[in-house]
């Protein structure tokens, strides 16, 4: 959902950078091509990484996809490059590494893009990373499914309450007494009202996706809750017997 605005942003940025480069070139011939001033490190996403990967690929250090995400493959490539060129081996792409890399390799922005953009990409989407960072063990689709559940269950709640619902789903996956997969927990009959009445299939917004990623990264405002309920609408008397931990927004979270 966020891809289009990002692609647009990237396109604007690209035009900007191309202008900059074409203006800047006659005056600063020694400056590294399109690399920005930033130090690039593992985990980074963006144009700089595309350039880095293409350059490393050009001189045979990198054999993965040019996808714009600085992953482990890129990391080892950088380290091997640094070793071969007698630089301190730290896996960080700073000024020194960039200069050496620019001198050793060629980089054609447009060819790299057609590779980086997933084989040219349909619908005029060129440029920008063709991959995205995901937390270990989760796919974008898992995140999407959880975002759907969070949106259906807690879209009127404060942000913290949305992270809390995502955290409860994850706590259940971890727990012995619940199914061991995200889908198993979400689609357990009668577990979530939003699943039962189909509200889970509403299109989630960016906030619920952010909340899910925060929860996966370890934020748990509930203090390891396994259940929550809305005290105004709860039908089961049993749920009231659970030891309560905290109230966030309209929901009470309990063990």
């Amino acid at each position: 959902m966020d891809i289009y605005p990002k692609a647009k942003q990237a396109a604007v940025k690209a035009v900007f950078i191309v202008c900059l480069v074409s203006f800047g070139l006659p005056f600063l011939p020694e400056k590294p091509g399109a690399f920005s001033e930033q130090v690039i490190q593992i985990g980074a996403v963006g144009e700089d990484v595309i350039e880095l990967q293409s350059r490393l690929q050009h001189i045979g250090y990198y054999n993965g996809e040019v996808d714009g995400v600085f992953g482990w493959g890129t990391y080892w490539a950088v380290r091997n490059f640094q070793e071969a060129f007698g630089m301190p081996i730290d896996g960080l792409v700073g000024e020194d590494t960039k200069n050496k890399l620019v001198r050793a390799s060629k980089y054609e922005r447009n060819t790299a893009r057609s590779q980086g953009g997933g084989g040219g990409g349909g619908g005029g989407q060129s440029g920008g990373p063709s991959a995205t960072a995901v937390p270990p063990g989760f796919s974008q689709n898992d995140i999407q499914l959880m975002a759907n559940a969070v949106h259906g269950e807690a879209r009127g709640e404060p942000y913290e309450g949305q992270v809390a619902v995502a955290a409860v789903i994850l706590n259940r996956v971890e727990s012995e007494t619940f199914p061991n997969t995200v889908a198993g927990v979400i689609f357990e009959p009668r577990a979530f009202t939003a699943v039962a009445d189909g509200q889970i299939w509403l299109t989630p917004n960016e906030t619920s996706r952010k909340a899910v990623i925060d929860a996966i990264n370890g934020w748990d405002p509930t203090g390891e809750a396994l259940y929550y309920f809305n005290p105004d609408t709860a039908t089961s008397p049993w749920i009231w017997t659970r030891p309560q931990i905290k109230r966030i927004g309209k929901h009470i979270f309990c063990k």
Partner: protein, 448 residues
């Protein structure tokens, strides 16, 4: 004339509506039967699997040869996970059934641990044998209760849709045999769980190893908590402040302080005892990324230093859109301490600290006496699959599956295009963990 036309038209319409209604009714019935059949399948499979669990535990008990014990235990483990998944497909969530699920979970946990162990070198202890025997007896109880319910359901053509309806409307009708049957099962399991806890060998419960639970400092007051939270969040123009106390369901009592300001609203969780910050979360909209991940990482490190959380080094960094998430872990004498981990979230538009999770850190952090490893690095490296190309190596303390801290040699290596983390126990050389490291995934709507 007009009258006949009207009558004819109306009766045609009536027939039409009737036909449409009949079609709708048929469709609805088809869907209901479909849903009912799914429930029935899960239910009958559940009873079958619990039956088999009981039988196989019995078989494992009767077995004499150690080599065939592992497959029998592995089979029990497989069937418990199936039974758990079937429970998950039945509309029992509103019915207290979690003790039974816990019971199945216990069987699974125990049989898994023993099945993957080399029973040739390390046979079942008497304690474990007794435990297995107990599980055998208890599963017999559960099995017979479930079979009883199943018999009645088959005899009287009971429908799970009625169970669902009864549970949904909150009408606890006394004549619902299925609900009553499951309640009986649950009561039985409740009794087991109490007697089993003390028996399970080598089970370190979470609370035993939780260092937060051991803090003996006096509790801080609400006022102190608010002060700490404000200082922590580093927000200007603080507006509304709200404090919530944790209820009695929380293992570690904490304050939750909500602070509002111009730089976004934040939430800080602080333990009552010791006043440690468990987590902080600020949800403001983040603009376009202006600083690099590297710079943001340095800010995160600076922040931790400022908070007097010393001895931490950056371990992982990831960029999600316009925020960077950094994992710091403890480091002592060139040994990484993975249980002491802290996550920090930094906005890439201005470098503001947007969040921190430190509950893992406070739970595990203590003064460790690191023993010398009895294996050398070369000896450990020999135990790695020779096809893996080792790129980086160091010593690390990790938590194993039994929730114990162990000293390991950590190797980062590549096999083909993938990168793996391999942990070799530094004392006995077992491969504690092998994990594929992955940072990214292709965007699916770009891969056409």
């Amino acid at each position: 004339m007009l009258r006949t036309v009207i009558i004819a038209a109306l009766s045609l319409a009536a027939i039409g509506v009737g036909f449409w209604g009949y079609q709708e009714h048929k469709e609805k019935n088809a869907i209901l039967i479909n849903a009912e059949n799914n429930y029935q399948r899960a239910f009958h499979e559940l009873t079958f699997n619990v039956d088999r669990i009981h039988d196989q535990i019995g078989a494992a008990l009767a077995m004499n040869s150690r080599e065939s014990l592992s497959p029998a235990l592995a089979d029990v483990w497989r069937m418990t996970s199936q039974a758990q998944s079937e429970v998950g497909q039945l509309p029992l969530t509103l019915l207290p059934f979690n003790k039974t699920e816990e019971f199945l979970g216990n069987i699974g946990q125990f049989t898994y641990k023993t099945a993957v162990r080399d029973l040739e070198k390390e046979p079942l202890t008497d304690e474990e044998y007794n435990y297995l025997q107990k599980l055998h007896e208890q599963s017999a109880d559960i099995q017979s209760e479930l079979r009883k319910v199943q018999h009645m359901a088959l005899e009287n053509n009971l429908r799970w849709m009625d169970v669902e309806l009864a549970l949904a409307t909150g009408e606890e009708r006394t004549d619902n045999t299925i609900i009553d049957g499951f309640k009986t099962v649950e009561k039985k399991s409740e009794g087991f769980s109490e007697s089993n806890v003390s028996m399970l060998p080598g089970n370190n419960s979470e609370l035993d190893t939780n260092h937060l639970a051991k803090i003996n400092a006096p509790a801080i007051t609400e006022k102190q908590a608010v002060q700490k939270a404000k200082a922590y969040a580093q927000m200007k123009h603080v507006g509304e402040v709200k404090v919530t106390e944790s209820g009695k369901g929380s293992d570690i009592p904490f304050y939750s302080v909500y602070v509002e300001s111009k730089d976004g609203a934040g939430n800080v969780d602080i333990t009552k005892k010791g006043g440690h910050i468990l987590s902080y979360m600020n949800n403001r909209d983040v603009g376009k990324a202006k600083i690099s991940l590297n710079e943001a990482g340095n800010k995160a490190a600076g922040f931790l230093k400022q908070q007097k959380m010393e001895g931490l080094v950056l371990h992982e960094s990831t960029q999600y859109d316009n925020v960077g998430v950094f994992t710091f872990v403890g480091k002592k004498d060139a040994v990484f301490i993975y249980p002491d981990s802290v996550k920090v979230k930094v906005a890439l538009d201005n470098g503001q600290i947007l969040g921190i999770v430190a509950n893992e850190y406070w739970r595990n952090h203590h003064d460790r006496k690191l023993a010398k490893p009895s294996l050398t690095e070369e000896e450990a490296e020999k135990r790695i699959n020779p096809r893996v190309q080792v790129q980086e190596k160091n010593l690390a303390v990790v938590k194993n599956e039994l929730n114990e801290e162990v000293l390991c040699y950590e190797f980062l290596g590549t096999l083909g295009k993938e990168t793996y983390r391999i942990l070799i126990n530094a004392n006995d050389g077992t491969e504690e963990q092998v994990e594929r490291l992955r940072l990214s995934e292709p965007l699916y709507d770009r891969v056409v």
